[in-house]
């Protein structure tokens, strides 16, 4: 019996209900009693009164009746009672012959306002008296279930003392870190911060740990080791996860709010512990601490505004007939000038004049004749008729050629990206077609492995290229041109995330997709992904970690027609996460 919990559909395939405002009202009724928690709530606030003053935000007057009930007045308004929960984070735990001495530094409490869709999450730094407040609400975006947030920085007003000048603030001091967390709920996640406005996460428990997903995030510095983090699963359930973490003890105390895939309310607080699994390089100037986010986006001064990549809305599924119409208007095979090909390798003439057969295990076998650097002929083994195609080929390593071409005239529209490993007589193919069971404009594909047959070469009987997890955890930046650079994090053996650099070198927008990896040889990996439930396009590249240069091909069929083009970029090593041990049947 498998101990892993694999869902019927991964997050990007789930059709989350478009909840109405009335449905959300009803579902939020239990939230008025406060969050649930497996761990015991702290009574540190019981019997106390707090006045929290925020910059450009509300003044919150709290009275904590006990460890579960509070009343709050916002901006001097009428007091409202609600349930709440509070957790503390210790600054230090000192073990000695006299026992364990702990000192609380952070109090985090959470509550919703009854009969509203709004709540507050407050972090109080007992050492500095500073407070950071997350106001949260539903029905603030067209997908009403998506939790919205506005962050206010302020302090706890204390009689006889002047207001502190400092505030908690946005930061890049935690950019690049990765964590393994295990909550008191038993939920395990991997969480990666390769951006200052987004994060990626792998749900090891809830979704089986196969894929990486991304959500807009905030990173706030309390001090050198305490940070507040949140993410919202925009484009998915809309659930928000918010916590304070201590880098020294690798512990967290947090809150989760929203509606899951069954539309059930999740409103609970949690404690967790884990480990830092790695730290990627960051690329801002050394004097840039990330207190300002250099986004040039309109509307970012609006309440709740945050940068969100929304591929589902931007790429609605289209029908097969719409694709056919688009393909009639535009079919571009190696058109040149692609934004992702500014640093592509030169084309190879290695294949010119060769005749060979590629034979894949339990798959097709094709004869090839390469007439010149741009033209080839192919046929199924046994057929008499040759098909002529335009192709492009690169030589990314000694004795290795990577080429691609369409299978013109085929329906569904089809292409192949083929690695020829002449040193070993091996070949790998990514055989792709437009259309999947989910979307007509989404590429589906398979990896097939086999051998090269040609005069003067005896291929191996058993040896094959094979799938690999060798890249899992690594991060590489890819510079496609002067103006387009992204970072790949190969965060699981079956997925990856990419993040776009901002002008100051900070990492910005991020998204992820399922992917596959095969090893051609040491330092040479065949990597392919489809931007599922997104634009549906496929990228297939050969990553050479010796030259730190890739070569590859993009393939797509959709509203803009059919396209097969090349890509190429220079890489830099951005570090790695020690995560391989969390994947696979043995975990």
């Amino acid at each position: 019996m498998s101990k892993a919990s694999f869902p019927k559909e991964q997050m990007h395939r789930i059709k989350y209900t478009k909840l109405t405002k009335e449905q959300i009202d009803r579902k939020l009724v239990p939230a008025a009693a406060g969050p649930e928690c497996v761990s015991e709530f702290s009574d540190v606030l019981a019997g106390k009164r707090l006045k929290i003053v925020t910059d450009n935000g509300p003044v919150l007057n709290y009275t904590f009746n006990d460890k579960n009930k509070l009343s709050v007045s916002v901006d001097g308004g009428a007091s409202v009672e609600s349930g709440y929960g509070a957790l503390t984070m210790e600054q230090d735990a000192f073990f000695s012959q006299y026992g364990t001495l702990t000192r609380e530094q952070i109090v985090f409490f959470s509550h919703m306002t009854p009969k509203t869709q709004t709540g507050y999450n407050v972090f109080i730094d007992l050492e500095s008296n500073l407070a950071t407040v997350f106001e949260v609400w539903f029905s603030g975006y067209k997908d009403l279930r998506e939790v919205q947030r506005q962050i206010y920085y302020g302090y706890v007003e204390t009689a006889g003392n002047e207001a502190p000048i400092k505030r908690h603030h946005l930061t890049n001091r935690i950019e690049g870190k990765g964590f393994h967390w295990k909550q008191d709920t038993g939920i395990e996640t991997l969480e990666f911060f390769p951006s200052i406005v987004s994060s990626s996460f792998v749900e090891l428990t809830r979704f089986g740990g196969e894929l990486t997903f991304c959500g807009p995030s905030d990173y706030i510095r309390i001090n050198d080791h305490l940070f507040i983090y949140d993410r919202t699963e925009c484009e998915f359930s809309g659930i928000m996860t918010l916590y304070v973490m201590d880098l020294l003890s690798a512990t967290q105390a947090g809150m989760r709010l929203g509606f899951n895939e069954k539309d059930e309310l999740e409103y609970y607080m949690f404690r967790g512990s884990g480990e830092i699994v790695g730290q990627l390089a960051i690329f801002e100037p050394f004097n840039d601490r990330g207190e300002k986010i250099p986004l040039n986006m309109p509307g970012m001064d609006q309440k709740g505004a945050r940068p969100v990549y929304r591929p589902f809305g931007d790429h609605p599924p289209i029908t097969e007939s719409e694709i056919e119409e688009a393909v009639r208007k535009s079919t571009l095979i190696f058109p040149g000038g692609e934004a992702m090909a500014g640093n592509k390798m030169g084309l190879s003439h290695y294949l010119v004049g060769l005749e060979l057969t590629v034979r894949y295990d339990n798959g097709p076998a094709w004869d090839y004749r390469f007439d010149n650097m741009k033209k080839l002929r192919w046929r199924k083994v046994g057929d008499t008729q040759w098909h002529e195609e335009v192709y492009e080929a690169f030589q990314p390593d000694r004795g290795v050629i990577f080429f691609a071409h369409m299978h013109s005239g085929m329906k569904p529209y089809e292409c192949v990206k083929i690695v020829l490993d002449f040193s070993n007589g091996l070949t790998s193919c990514v055989h792709s077609q437009v259309g999947s069971k989910y979307m007509a404009n989404e590429v589906s594909y398979r990896f097939i492995f086999g051998v090269i047959e040609m005069e003067g070469m005896t291929p191996p009987k058993y040896l094959r290229h094979a799938f690999t997890d060798e890249l899992a955890g690594r991060a590489l930046t890819w510079n496609y041109s002067d103006t387009l650079t992204s970072m790949h994090v190969y965060s699981t053996p079956h997925s990856y995330s990419w993040t776009i650099f901002m002008e100051n070198g900070a990492m910005g927008m991020q998204w992820s997709s399922p992917s596959r990896y095969a090893k051609i040889r040491d330092g040479l990996y065949l990597f392919s992904w489809v931007e599922e439930a997104c634009n549906g396009g496929q990228g297939t590249i050969l990553i050479n970690t010796k030259t730190m240069h890739d070569c590859g091909f993009g393939f797509s069929g959709g509203k803009d027609g059919l396209r097969l083009d090349t890509m190429g970029a220079f890489a830099r090593n951005a570090g790695s996460y020690d995560v391989k041990r969390f994947f696979g049947p043995g975990y």
Binding site: M297, E338, T483, M509
Partner: protein, 241 residues
């Protein structure tokens, strides 16, 4: 080998660009040449006429300075207001006609590409001395004028392509292919009421380089000219030239 010379050898057709920031020097040259062609001088009889044309020349020079300043600050709508109703602008192989066409160029195309901001010349690129002069000539009837001014600006255009990377870069306010462009404005002006408006402006690019401020080097680049016109290209010209 001198880098500039080596570039010139690689690109024999490219005119080099020599930038001199001395606006005062240029102004002296310009004042000296304003309305001084021999043929015109023969009919230019009164001192008052000559003074009037010099005043017009200075007004036009200030108009051009305001034009550059507004471009520099991204005040594209204000830039459009400096043109006559039937004005036209020639930029990168395209002619933008009338207020709507000019608004499309500045408010849509320039705005999206952050084009027009003054930047220093790319290292190794020079304009010929005669190209760096401010020249203003005012017609004898003082209703029209022509001008020539050097420019050195950042140019840009949104990246093409529909990949998610490009989309995301655009979304976060980037996704702009930027380059440096140096050359000479060739302009004509028309008096409208008591003031002057730009009647025609042509960007005659001498050099384009893959340069952004802060870099120590640059290489010449080819920037594709407009290939399609409005409305097929929503930010395209009214016709190709």
């Amino acid at each position: 080998m001198d880098f500039v010379k080596s570039l010139s050898k690689q690109n024999p057709g490219r005119r080099s660009f020599l930038w001199k920031a001395g606006a005062a020097m240029s102004a002296v040259v310009a004042s000296a040449v304003a309305g001084v062609s021999g043929a015109k001088q023969s009919t230019d009889t009164t001192l008052q006429d000559r003074i009037g044309r010099l005043e017009d020349a200075n007004t036009i020079r200030r108009l051009h300075q305001a034009f550059e300043s507004r471009l520099d600050r991204g005040m594209y709508e204000d830039v459009v207001g400096m043109f006559a109703d039937d004005a036209e602008v020639v930029f990168n192989g395209g002619l933008f006609a009338g207020k709507e066409g000019i608004r499309r160029l500045y408010c849509d195309h320039f705005n999206s590409g952050l084009t027009g901001k003054k930047i220093e010349p790319a290292p190794g690129f020079r304009l010929e001395p005669e190209q760096q002069q401010d020249i203003v000539e005012v017609a004898l009837d003082r209703k029209a004028a022509t001008g020539q001014f050097p420019y050195s600006m950042q140019a840009g255009t949104p990246m093409t392509g529909d990949s998610s990377l490009v989309q995301m870069a655009r979304l976060q306010g980037e996704g702009i292919v930027k380059w440096w462009e140096g050359g000479v404005y060739h302009a004509s002006y028309v008096k409208v009421g008591a003031g002057w408006k730009i009647k025609r402006l042509e960007y005659r690019a001498a050099s384009k380089a893959d340069y952004k401020p802060g870099r120590m080097y640059a290489m010449p680049i080819d920037v594709p000219a407009f290939k399609s016109v409005f409305p097929k290209n929503p930010i395209g010209p009214d016709r190709l030239v």
